[in-house]
């Protein structure tokens, strides 16, 4: 099937699949369990706010209330680090990864389990179309959920620093949402491909993440991992935003302690290429899989 034909019919074929996938993903119990876990730091943030909001030191400047720490530093500069650190574990870290693994399984393995994949394979639809529609649906749903979550979490954490603090650090929220998006573009395609080829995708996805992404990243050959490119973008963006961070903080050094961070634009491009590449690999798997 020609690519032009696939592109031409994509809007018609994608819409029902997007509706189906997003419905399945949002109504899945595991999604809600993970969302409940994601909400824990939000609850904690609210608790801290109500406990300590009266102890803040504030100053009125041009009609804005600016809050300070006890040491006299800007409070929003303290809180933004809390937001970023917690986001690196929740919204764009381990919990988001579990959500991605669960999504990929629901999008691909479930189609094999419910045997709808067999029906699709007897229909005139290219395996790339089968996989790509589900992959894009997963990205949209995942990024929407985590983007919304991160926004809520950002407001809860930063509201301690008042409206001024919330507005001042919006660039950080944009960075977190950008990282969530790139994370999902890269990791979801890898997880989807794993789901096509393996019968126990949860385990394989987790093993891949733990042994490949966590152990190799921070080493000399870390360019072979997605994590390296994600960290490169975070490091570069924070530097641009005036944060005092070192490449070492993000593991972007080799054994000689040389900085090996990749250019952020190139990193983003590589992540997108990884996404496309694994969709091709996954679609080959669908095409060759026998029932």
């Amino acid at each position: 099937m020609e690519i032009s034909k696939m592109i031409k019919r994509a809007p018609i074929l994608f819409t029902p699949i997007f509706k189906d996938c997003s419905y399945r993903l949002i109504t899945n119990k595991v999604t809600w369990i993970l969302i409940a876990i994601l909400m824990l730091p939000c609850a904690l943030g609210l608790l801290v706010y109500y406990e300590y909001s009266d102890d803040r030191i504030s100053e009125e400047v041009d009609g804005d209330t600016i809050y300070y720490t006890d040491e006299g530093f800007l409070l929003h500069e303290d809180l933004r680090e809390v937001f970023l650190d917690l986001s690196r574990f929740f919204g764009m870290g381990f919990i988001a990864l579990l959500l991605g693994i669960m999504f990929s399984s629901e999008l691909i393995s479930e189609e094999y389990n419910t045997k709808t994949m067999q029906i699709l394979r007897t229909s005139p639809i290219h395996p790339i179309e089968i996989l790509a529609y589900r992959y894009v649906s997963g990205i949209i749903t995942g990024v929407a959920l985590l983007g919304l979550y991160s926004t809520i979490f950002y407001i809860i954490v930063m509201m301690g620093a008042g409206i001024h603090g919330i507005i001042e650090e919006l660039e950080l929220l944009a960075l977190v949402i950008k990282i969530i998006m790139l994370n999902w573009i890269g990791f979801l395609s890898i997880f989807c491909a794993i789901n096509v080829y393996f019968e126990k995708p949860y385990l394989i996805c987790f093993i891949y993440w733990l042994f490949w992404e966590q152990i190799i990243s921070g080493q000399n050959y870390q360019q072979l991992t997605m994590t390296h490119y994600i960290n490169s973008i975070i490091y570069d963006s924070l530097t641009e935003m005036g944060w005092i961070v070192t490449a070492d903080d993000y593991g972007l050094v080799n054994s000689n302690n040389d900085t090996i961070a990749t250019d952020p634009l190139l990193s983003a491009l590589i992540i997108i290429i990884i996404g496309i590449l694994f969709i091709f690999i996954g679609s080959r798997g669908i095409a060759s899989k026998q029932f």
Binding site: M1, L13, T114, Q118, I119, S123, P124, I125, Q290
Partner: protein, 314 residues
């Protein structure tokens, strides 16, 4: 056109053999594929559909390999034995989605889906979610999905499963009309009577091997080494024993039994043609009028029992 050819096809699943050395040629019309569970019917269908590659041998549907050819799939409709739904879609959404895959535009697809579902009696429930459907309604939805785009080849795996008598009758009439239109229909069913009603062309399969294929009457004729049973009922019940004794004198009668209560004798012969030729002469000579002469052995059920289950009359 619309032919399915399997040449010496063997399919192995690891050490387990799915089908072995299957050679078949399926032409337009209805062909019933029969066999017990695990006989290899579904494997054969999967190979024809391109869901599975043969380990050895070749398969050609309309002259092309179904595993690789996307265009061919525009011409094949498949009703699987199992459920395969997006449960929260309505039947219209489900059927129209697959029509859109066949390159019909959205409005056209919805119209065609509605027509197809209405033809199968789902006009009142086609907008309900599939997850609320009964087994029969699900079966109709599967058939609608497989046939709405007017494919020339239909692969129907247990299409009457879970269908109520009305639905079964409706589906059988549909299948007959599709066959009359020149479609090639391969159908598997556990209900031999249904297949018998639809076609005389059968493929009997067991343990992955084709035991017989072709017209069932022809197959029966070729089974000359397997005796047939004939029931003869004299009008006068007093003639039951004399007739039985007389028939046993013939060397081509291999066994017999008197069924006093039923008022009939059952005779077994391995020379059916001689039997039907000589029996009238004997009856005339002995002045016996018979009520009926009947053999169940020509039925599909009997053929299935003999070939697949290995049952012989004792």
């Amino acid at each position: 056109m619309n032919t399915i050819i399997l040449e010496q096809v063997t399919k192995n699943y690891g050490k387990v053999q799915g089908i072995s050395n299957v050679t078949l040629s399926i032409e337009p019309g209805v062909t019933g594929i029969l066999g017990p569970n695990g006989a290899g019917k579904s494997t054969t269908m999967k190979i024809v559909l391109g869901l599975s590659r043969p380990s050895i041998g070749a398969v050609a549907v309309n002259g092309v390999n179904p595993f690789d050819d996307l265009e061919l799939r525009k011409n094949i409709g498949f009703v699987p034995e199992y459920d395969c739904f997006y449960e929260h879609m309505s039947a219209v959404e489900y059927v129209s989605y697959f029509l859109m895959i066949h390159d019909f535009d959205k409005e056209e697809s919805i119209d065609m889906a509605q027509n197809s579902l209405a033809e199968l009696g789902l006009q009142d429930s086609m907008h309900r979610k599939i997850r609320t459907y009964s087994r029969g309604m699900r079966q109709k939805t599967k058939v609608a999905r497989a046939t709405a785009f007017n494919p020339q080849i239909l692969i129907l795996d247990e299409p009457f499963q879970g269908a109520d008598p009305t639905t079964r009758h409706l589906l059988m009439e549909k299948i007959k009309s599709w066959a009359e239109e020149g479609k090639t229909i391969l159908i598997s069913s556990h209900i031999l009577h249904d297949v018998e009603y639809l076609t005389d062309n059968i493929v009997l399969i067991n343990n992955g091997r084709v035991l017989a294929s072709g017209n069932r009457h022809e197959i029966r004729k070729m089974m000359s080494n397997i005796p047939i049973q004939v029931k003869v009922s004299p009008l006068d019940k007093k003639k039951l024993r004399p007739l039985f004794k007389r028939m046993l004198d013939e060397e081509w009668i291999t066994a017999g039994r008197i069924m006093e209560d039923e008022g009939e004798i059952i005779l077994e012969t391995n020379k059916s043609e001689t039997f039907y030729e000589i029996l009238p002469q004997i009856l005339e000579k002995e002045n016996i009028i018979v009520q009926k002469i009947m053999s169940d052995d020509d039925s599909l059920d009997s053929l299935y029992s003999k070939l697949v289950e290995g049952k012989q009359w004792k």
